[in-house]
């Protein structure tokens, strides 16, 4: 236990001090890593904890982003207020989907397909939703970004980095406590054998819904961040299934259901992606598409040989695992 706390502390210090010795490029990559780590962690709550495979998580990112973005764009309402609207909307959506799915007994692959259908449905719907700009996209007004304007969430990249770091740390802590508490144990039971859990008298419906709601809420915040970081939103891009896939890559490679898995996965994948791009450029192979082939190959290898993700075996090696 002591080792784990120590390792965590070292990591935390490193991350806090990162901007001191990292250039702007590394900082932007680090922010991206944290973004995927956070969003992956949010997804992990639903999948790793409660065992519900959501392949349409871009839905929550998009709705969250558009909710906060639209309020800012049309009414000048700042992101802190918009955040709550975003969370509320996403929780309602998640709960609705969860309710429909669980009441009708949809699970496994069918649940996954249901989530995809909802995300696609929303994508095309937003493409026709002119109040938020339709397919032309929504461009948020960008102010000069030298000063830290927390109220409107505008500032230099440093601010975004720390904001994302705070979010990721917060999610990590939240998940840690959740796992140790009652919901955590119920989720484990449901994940391992839902029927047995039900037989034991656990209200599986309620706990599954809780996981979905928490996951949706966390992901909504991710969407709000996205809106104010990139300042332009297009339904075609933000609700796209490729974004949903991006979100789950981190946790799956890192280790579904583990606390540290999503973070490790996001870090490795982003570094891998950038690393391959650099390596390919250094070798002078400027063929478009070659980088993605390598990327796909690595994914394939990891999936084949490390089915539970990279973190569990790594943790064992480092002596950081539970037992």
């Amino acid at each position: 236990m002591k080792r784990r706390v120590a390792a965590l502390a070292v990591l935390a210090v490193l991350l806090l001090l990162l901007p001191g010795f990292a250039g702007p490029y590394a900082l932007s990559v680090a922010t991206l890593i944290l973004y995927f780590a956070y969003t992956g962690q949010a997804w992990n709550v639903m999948m790793g904890f409660a065992g519900q495979l959501s392949l349409g998580h871009s839905l929550y990112v998009g709705v969250g982003a558009y909710a906060a973005g639209a309020l800012f764009f049309h009414y000048g309402i700042g992101p802190w207020a918009g955040l709550w609207v975003a969370i509320l909307l996403c929780v309602l959506l998640g709960v609705a989907i969860g309710f429909l799915a669980f009441r009708f007994g949809i699970s496994g692959v069918y649940f996954a397909l249901l989530t995809i259908a909802f995300a696609e449905f929303t994508r095309i719907g937003f493409d026709h939703f002119n109040w938020i700009g339709g397919p032309g996209g929504m461009f948020l007004r960008v102010a000069q970004r030298d000063a830290w304007d927390l109220a409107n969430f505008r500032g230099p990249p440093l601010m975004y980095y720390y904001a994302m770091l705070a979010l990721t740390a917060g999610a990590f802590a939240l998940c840690f406590f959740l796992l140790k508490s009652r919901p955590g144990y119920y989720w484990q039971a449901i994940r391992e054998n839902e029927e047995a859990a039900q037989a034991l008298g656990i209200n599986t419906f309620r706990w599954k819904m809780l996981a979905v709601a928490i996951s949706a809420a966390l992901t909504a915040v991710s969407g709000v961040f996205f809106a104010f970081y990139y300042n332009n939103l297009f339904p075609e891009q933000i609700f796209h299934i490729s974004r949903s896939i991006e979100i789950i890559l981190g946790p799956v490679i890192g280790g579904v259901g583990t606390l540290f898995g999503p973070i490790l996965g996001a870090a490795l994948l982003t570094l891998l992606s950038d690393g391959i791009t650099e390596a390919v450029a250094a070798l002078g192979w400027e063929i478009p598409g070659i980088k993605q082939v390598f990327y796909g190959l690595v994914l394939l290898l990891v999936i084949m040989f490390l089915p539970h993700g990279i973190w569990p075996p790594l943790a064992r090696r480092l002596g950081l695992h539970k037992r």
Binding site: F21, G23, P24, Y25, G137, F139, V142, G289
Partner: protein, 408 residues
Amino acid sequence: MKRRQFNKALAAAGAAAAVSPFGILHAQAQKLRVGVLLPRSGYLGFIGQSCQKGADLAPEVIKGMLGVDIELMNADTESSVDTARTRAERLIQEGAHVLVGAFDSGQSAAIAQVAEQRGVPYIVNVAAAPQITEQGYKFVFRNFQTAVDIVRNGLALIGELFQATNSVPRSAVFMHVNDTFGQAMAKGIGAFMPRLTQLPFKIVDTITYDPAAKDLTVELSKAKSANADFLLLVCRLNDAILLRREMVKQRWNPMGIVSPGSPGMYEEQYFKTLGKLSEYSISNVPWYNPNAPLTRTVEKAFLKRNPKEKLVFHGLNVGFTFEAILVAADAFKRAKSTEPKTLADAIRQTNITSKMTLGGPIKFNEKGQVEGIGSACVQNLDLIPKVVLPANAAEAKPVFPAPYYKKA
């Protein structure tokens, strides 16, 4: 073990890259380093690679024109906003003095933010969303029409077209893709049409369609049933091909297919796939001036590097990408420095009259936008797109209505 080592190695590489010195040389610099950000893979791969051809020939041509040395730093945005942003940061860190790109409005907007924040000038080659130059940026410039301009020019050219061919079509059916571009065009048409009273036609029906649709049978039959004189179309390449084929299968032969401003019908694939069917389609788009001396120079360089291709199929992409780099080089020559702020100021003073694309001189207004870029009415004749209007840049006379026209 392997994972840890791999991870460590990557982390080390990352750290090394991060702390490496910026390498921005101030004043007395010999070379201008231009970061070129284009989507060379992903769904925009085809267009990105086309633009890249314009970038690749730039250093040689510009050396001949201005005596200035340019070093290109190419990056692939992979048609993704995330990658566009990090690649832009990377290029700046590696010492790019100016950025150029990125074709897509979303990616361009992301790069613009990075450029503005880092104080590095960024010249947009092709991207029509008006908002990019409406943010009050000091380091972002665009030498391309906004969607609003494209529509206005496109509609005006339609009027000219009918005048030049003495035709008076009374009705049009308007079909457009439901994406960024199509939507902007639809809005523009809605705004400008009522004001352009000299246009003889009315739009009798509007049909929107999904750009990813692989089957447009229903859409086209709707269009056909509107019984309009001609088809006003805002499209992309694949759907343009689908629609043209569908028109044959459904035996609809209107006076013509006219685009007030969209890609698709002048692209090489359209001709290759449709053969003779591609004839007479008309697109009103920003284009290069076939008679300009610079065009000939660029064409020579293009053919040297791409002997199997024709410039005319890449004209728009190559022309504007080349000009973006030209603007950078021209500013560098005047500023005699690669210091970003100096470069930006120099770019603001740009006044290039001898250029390749149609329209007035390259001069940026206070928003960083060039006004007065011209459009051409381009018609597919003899299996290549030819400029038919304006008359002073024309290579052929416009044909309207098309010979295949059959009154319904």
